[in-house]
Amino acid sequence: MTVARVAALLLALIVLPFVATPYALHVAIVVLFNVTYTAALYAVLRMGYLSLGHAGFIALGAYTCVILSVRLGVSPWLGIPAGGLVAGLFAWGLGALTLRLRGIYFALAIFAFGEIVTAFFRAFDWFGGPAGIPGVPRPAFLGTPLASHFAFYWPVLVVAVLGIAILYRLQYTRFGAALLTLKTAESERLAESVGIPAARYKTANFVVSCVITGTMGTLHAQYLLFVNPQVFGSTMSTDLLIYAMVGGLAGFWGPILGAGLLTALGEQLFSVGYWKTLVYAAILMVVIMVLPGGLADLPRRLRAHFGAPR
């Protein structure tokens, strides 16, 4: 993206809360959550790894922040980086163990991890049990808690913009370029033979993705005012994958587009309950069958079909 476009987008995001209705602002906040998670997931997909349990890291961030603030009386502000840190530590350990696996083995290992995280919180009353933990405090600014959508929008926007900027720029660093050499076992062997420490790089990238995911997870819990094991369960993990697939995996903006569009649509369907899952699944099937490159590939396909504009 050009500097001008980025500036225009940023400006729109800054003006938005001044003109949007509270409901529209609610949708915007949820879009920012999901867009950030999906961009972080894409960073892992980009190096050839299918993380089927990424919501586990949202849950780790969210619960860390909630336990700290509700159970231990720590400031919700401190809970935000703490959640990112805990998610990152788990990603480090888990990445070191599982990133040597490939394909379905890695995907299922991470899926199992996501299940273990939520099952763990469900199992212990101190962690809220099946019902979760209500009454999550929001951080305060100048003594006033960020209670309104308008007020809470700002920390969400800051974390989203910072997180996405880091993920975007990281691709174009030499580190980010080296990650592309680790996509298959064969290619990884060549990478190692020229001195690329594959395991270390993969783990580092996984940690970056999960720190950003976990950090946003803390704000997510504060926004909802509660956590429970269901919200950040396997459905969330598969939703993120659906966003990324529907948007298209060829580039950075595809998953973001998918997350933005589907989340906005999903919020409209929220009141009718199970429709959301059905609609997401149907859209995924249609996109995979008729537009395997995702929505981001649509302009190119249309140009190819109707001829390039002169």
């Binding site: 660093t173 580190f175 080296a178 592309l180 060549l190 990478a191 001195g195 690329i196």
Partner: protein, 257 residues
């Protein structure tokens, strides 16, 4: 002066199979050594033990006098061991130039923070890496292909690119696993002229080759393996007259090469 490479009593077992049995030899600086032997003799396995892909079951590997046995593949790359694979292996989705840039990895300062901020000195570094990669491409005569994707290259160019990637690491020791195999006569000649010329000027080379004509024409010395044992170590020219080697290759057409 220490030899560049010392292989001391190296054995490698895969379960019950002894792929290498107490193999010992040395490679002097600047040498071009051929590693020869019938299929399954253990040549690729030997490369893997030297390059840290699969550590030997017994024995030691020394690089310029330093024991490097058991070091990881990427650690050995940083110590100056580069290799190509018998099955042509490239970064398939990257361009030819990007492939060689990755080969320069051990000369790269990662400086992730500089990169995130897009600092001028970082971009300058990146530009210099690309220039260096261009130099390697020019050396191997494949610069015209710089923007082509690696998985779209014809075999002759792809094999030259594998050498370019390895050479970009600026190794002390370069292991080439059958660089000429599968190439036409002209392509093989081009490859071997480069290996014995520009490549050899820059590092010590060990290459696996089945074709005796190529071994005799281009290499100084040959080590022959059979069933994981060394059966010959001497002048490449003397190879075809050695009874044990002739015996090992009896009936193998490449002897006529």
């Amino acid at each position: 002066m220490n030899p560049v490479l010392e292989v001391r009593g190296v054995s490698k077992r895969f379960g019950g199979l002894a792929a290498l049995s107490e193999v010992s030899f040395e490679v002097a600086r600047g040498e071009l050594l051929a590693l020869v032997g019938p299929n399954g003799a253990g040549k690729s396995t030997l490369f893997n033990t030297i390059a840290g892909v699969a550590p030997p079951t017994a024995g030691r590997i020394l690089l310029e006098g330093t024991d490097v046995t058991g070091k990881s593949s990427h650690a050995l790359a940083r110590l100056g061991v580069a290799r190509t694979f018998q099955l042509v292996t490239l970064f398939r989705e990257l361009t030819v130039l990007e492939n060689v840039v990755q080969g320069l990895h051990r000369h790269t300062r990662l400086a992730v923070l500089d990169g995130l901020l897009g600092l001028p000195r970082y971009r300058e570094d990146t530009r210099r890496l690309a220039e260096r990669a261009e130099g390697v491409l020019a050396l191997l005569g494949i610069a015209a292909h710089r923007h082509e994707r690696a998985d779209a290259l014809p075999l002759g160019i792809a094999k030259l690119l594998t050498v370019a990637i390895a050479l970009a690491t600026e190794p002390r020791l370069l292991l080439l696993d059958e660089p000429a195999a599968g190439l036409s006569h002209d392509e093989a000649t081009r490859m071997m002229d480069l290996v014995a010329g520009e490549v050899r000027k820059r590092c010590t080379v060990v290459l696996v080759e089945h074709n005796m004509r190529i071994v005799g024409n281009y290499c100084d010395r040959a080590v022959v393996l059979q069933f994981g044992r060394k059966i010959y170590d001497g002048a490449a020219a003397g190879l075809v007259h050695d009874p044990a080697v002739v015996d090992a290759y009896l009936g193998v057409a490449e002897m006529d090469g």
